[in-house]
């Protein structure tokens, strides 16, 4: 080993500086996570665990979901907590980061279920859901997730799993009728699909095919993009070549949606473009600019209208510093769970709570009326279905164009 004592004096200052600053940084950063969590003393608590992606590619969704639960828990606690058999229970929300990876999600859920002993876990995005389910079902823990992929996962083998967010499939039963009314059925005879090259993308493509079949619309083609792609010109020009009447891109985050819109409009495409997953308008307007025209965004409510919606927006800004429509979409989950606990009269028997939750109907949430459907396919109503607030962007202006409860077919 080189004798570096000779070099020491010159580099001493730099080393000391680096040592001190890194120690300070590390200490300051580690403190909040290692210090004990605040626990409600003496009163009974119901713990809800979150195995959510707080970092990684889907951090945006994960953080929004978490905000919904943290805010909801505070509101409910302030109003006296959850009444179970006459006793008030306080809610405690524990969150662990899954980085958007399956293995980490499993680890996070293991910690929640085995160490923190929670009976309810929520999560976001396909990867985290898969990892979480491996643990929650065998452990009899109720789970709520937003997961558009892995359609076959969500079946009778998982009786305690609730899919709260409407996937593009359910949304289709709201936005397609809207588009047909707005643009005329005859001008929407063919469609094309652009989605990411992963499980979510494939499953959304399957949903999209089912929707098209139901509404009698023909496909002109489909394309998958890589998350690493920087430019969308090649994919979009290939899609446009077949002249689809409209394009569906799902699940594309706002940035990619905006890039696709921009590319399509520049290349001369005039048809409507629909993005079920974007759920916000700011980025699209910023990035696509003047090209943002005829953009259909289901489940996007950027201008809260009812009193409770405005209240949610205000609270989130106070609590978290900002509000995006997406967190509003998730804010109702915890209320549904709490209502189910109160209805079932127990905070322990998750099977009873699951049965109760399937019957819960909420009114006047950020997404309007919420029910659980899907008994035909899953044996129990476990798919969240709610009013679809569809925003339409025309000439750079976003307006709420349609609110309707999805017109689900009887076979649903």
């Amino acid at each position: 080993m080189k004798n570096n004592r000779i070099i020491m004096p010159k580099t001493l200052h730099r080393r000391k500086f680096i040592t001190r600053s890194s120690a300070a940084i590390l200490g300051g950063l580690a403190a909040p996570s290692i210090l004990p969590k605040y626990a409600h003393a003496a009163t009974k608590t119901i713990k809800i665990g979150g195995a959510v992606p707080l970092t990684g590619p889907v951090a945006y969704w994960g953080i929004s979901t978490m905000q919904g639960f943290v805010d909801g828990a505070e509101v409910i606690n302030e109003n006296g907590g959850v009444m179970v058999n006459g006793e008030a229970h306080m809610l405690e929300v524990i969150n662990y980061d899954t980085k958007g990876e399956v293995a980490d999600s499993r680890a996070a859920t293991l910690r929640l279920v085995e160490q923190d002993e929670v009976k309810f876990v929520y999560t976001q995005a396909a990867a985290s859901t898969v990892g979480m389910l491996q643990v929650t079902e065998p452990a009899n823990v109720l789970s709520i997730a937003a997961c558009w992929g892995y359609l076959d996962l969500f079946g009778e083998d998982y009786p305690l799993h609730f899919r709260a967010e409407m996937s593009d499939y359910e949304q289709g039963y709201a936005y397609i009728p809207f588009m047909q009314e707005h643009y005329g059925k005859d001008s929407l005879k063919t469609a094309a699909f652009i989605g990411p090259n992963d499980q979510d993308g494939f499953d959304c493509y399957v949903s999209y095919q089912r929707l098209l079949k139901y509404y009698g619309i023909e496909e002109t083609g489909f394309e998958y993009f890589n998350w690493e792609d920087i430019d969308f010109f090649p994919i979009v020009s290939k899609t446009i070549r077949n002249n689809p009447d409209f394009i569906v891109t799902s699940p594309s985050p706002p940035g990619i949606t905006a890039s696709i819109i921009k590319a399509a409009r520049e290349l001369g495409y005039k048809g409507p473009i629909c993005s079920p997953a974007a759920s916000e308008t700011d980025t699209i307007l910023e990035v696509a600019g003047e090209h943002a025209h005829d953009v259909v965004l289901p489940v996007t409510n950027v201008n809260p209208s009812s009193e409770s919606q405005i209240a949610i927006q205000k609270r989130f800004i106070e609590r978290f510093g900002s509000f995006n429509a997406l967190s509003g979409n998730y804010s109702w989950w915890i209320y549904s769970l709490v209502a189910a606990i109160e209805k079932a009269g127990t905070a322990e028997d998750t099977n009873a709570i699951a049965e109760a939750m399937a019957t819960i109907v909420l009114e006047d949430t950020y997404v309007g009326r919420v029910t659980w459907e899907g008994a035909n396919a899953h044996g129990l109503n476990r798919q969240g279905v709610y009013d679809c607030y569809t925003t339409l962007i025309e000439n750079g202006q976003a307006t709420l164009a349609d609110v309707r409860y999805p017109e689900l077919p009887e076979t649903y």
């Binding site: 080393r15 680096i18 950063l29 707080l54 970092t55 980061d97 680890a107 996070a108 085995e114 160490q115």
Partner: protein
């Protein structure tokens, strides 16, 4: 020297004893055993990457190689019912074979080019898992990779039980560490180090550099494949995203933070950093930042890595004595 070797031996024996007793010490806490199993797999990955490092090469194909072992074993079980006991060795062999084949073109490259080429290999492997959807399940992944049940007649061990799998993982990892340690101490190991120091000179002494590189790479990838197979049967679910660049990056970080001169380095690094990773799980972005700070801190302030700490302490103390 011998005195130091003795200390090292005591440390290893102590660690092994501790890991055997660990389930009892923690009261069979399932979550803690999960962390321990994760540590074991990380140790296997970090040490096998270290083996490649002893020749002076950094391979970023490690994530993909692990994936080959994992997918082989997983698909053998789910498609053909081959039990894990055979499957994991086949998986490791598949990874080793792939490494053997790819090393001939790969070893023509040096230093940074090798790094990039191995990165490319890792990426292509991962994407191939996704591309051949019908066979590998694509991005969907492979489900229900159950851990085996060992029926010995008088006793039946179900390895989906956390404690049982824990001991299995410890056993396999100990084997991996021992294997790497012995190679490193042997004449082959010394040849690796001499190639690391000065490749041209080693060649001139008569060492067949290409042959040694191929051997090291193949063996290391074999071990990584073994770790991958174990990983698959533990997680019961794998998909291509599990075997991306992050696996290689973490193995590298563990290796660097732990120290590069003996096999104890990656072991220490993997243990410490996995524990830190789990502790900071609630911290979101700060966790990643901490990793970055630790990494930079170690490289600049603690150039030998953590394993150089005992030596530094000894130096510091002996300096004082001589005053």
């Amino acid at each position: 020297m011998k005195y130091l070797d003795q200390i090292a031996r005591y440390r290893w024996e102590g660690l092994f004893l501790f890991s055997l007793l660990f389930p009892f010490l923690c009261g069979f806490d399932k979550y803690l055993m999960h962390v321990a199993i994760t540590i074991s797999l990380n140790v296997a990955m970090a040490t096998s990457m270290w083996l490649i490092w002893t020749l002076g090469l950094i391979s970023f194909a490690h994530g993909g190689i692990m994936g080959i072992g994992a997918y082989t074993s997983a698909l053998l079980l789910t498609k053909y019912g081959v039990p894990m006991w055979i499957g994991m060795w086949v998986g490791a062999a598949a990874a080793g074979l792939f490494a053997l084949l790819i090393s001939f073109p790969l070893m023509r490259t040096r230093a940074v080019y090798f790094f990039m080429a191995s990165w490319a290999i890792g990426e292509v492997i991962k994407r191939n898992f996704a591309y051949f959807r019908d066979f590998t399940g694509g991005w969907n992944g492979v489900f229900n990779i159950k851990a085996p049940v060992l029926d010995l007649g008088f006793i039946s061990l179900d390895f989906s039980d956390r404690t049982a799998f824990y001991y299995l993982a410890i056993l396999v990892v100990s084997f991996v560490i021992l294997f790497i340690y012995r190679i490193n101490k042997s004449r082959t190991g010394m040849m690796f180090w001499s190639i690391h120091e000065h490749e041209l000179l080693a060649q001139h002494i008569g060492i067949n550099v290409l042959k040694q590189k191929v051997i090291a790479f193949t063996v290391a990838c074999f071990l990584a494949g073994l770790a991958g197979a174990l990983y698959a049967h533990y997680q019961t679910f794998i998909n291509p995203k599990s075997f991306d660049i992050w696996k290689s990056e973490f193995a590298l970080v563990h290796m660097i933070v732990g120290g590069l001169s003996t096999v104890g380095g990656p072991v220490t690094g993997a243990i410490l950093l996995t524990v830190i990773d789990e502790l900071l799980r609630a911290a979101g972005h700060f966790r990643v930042i901490s990793f970055g700070v630790i990494l930079i801190g170690v490289v600049i302030l603690l150039p030998g890595g953590l394993e150089s700490v005992p030596a530094r302490i000894r130096n510091y103390l002996s300096k004082d004595l001589h005053k």
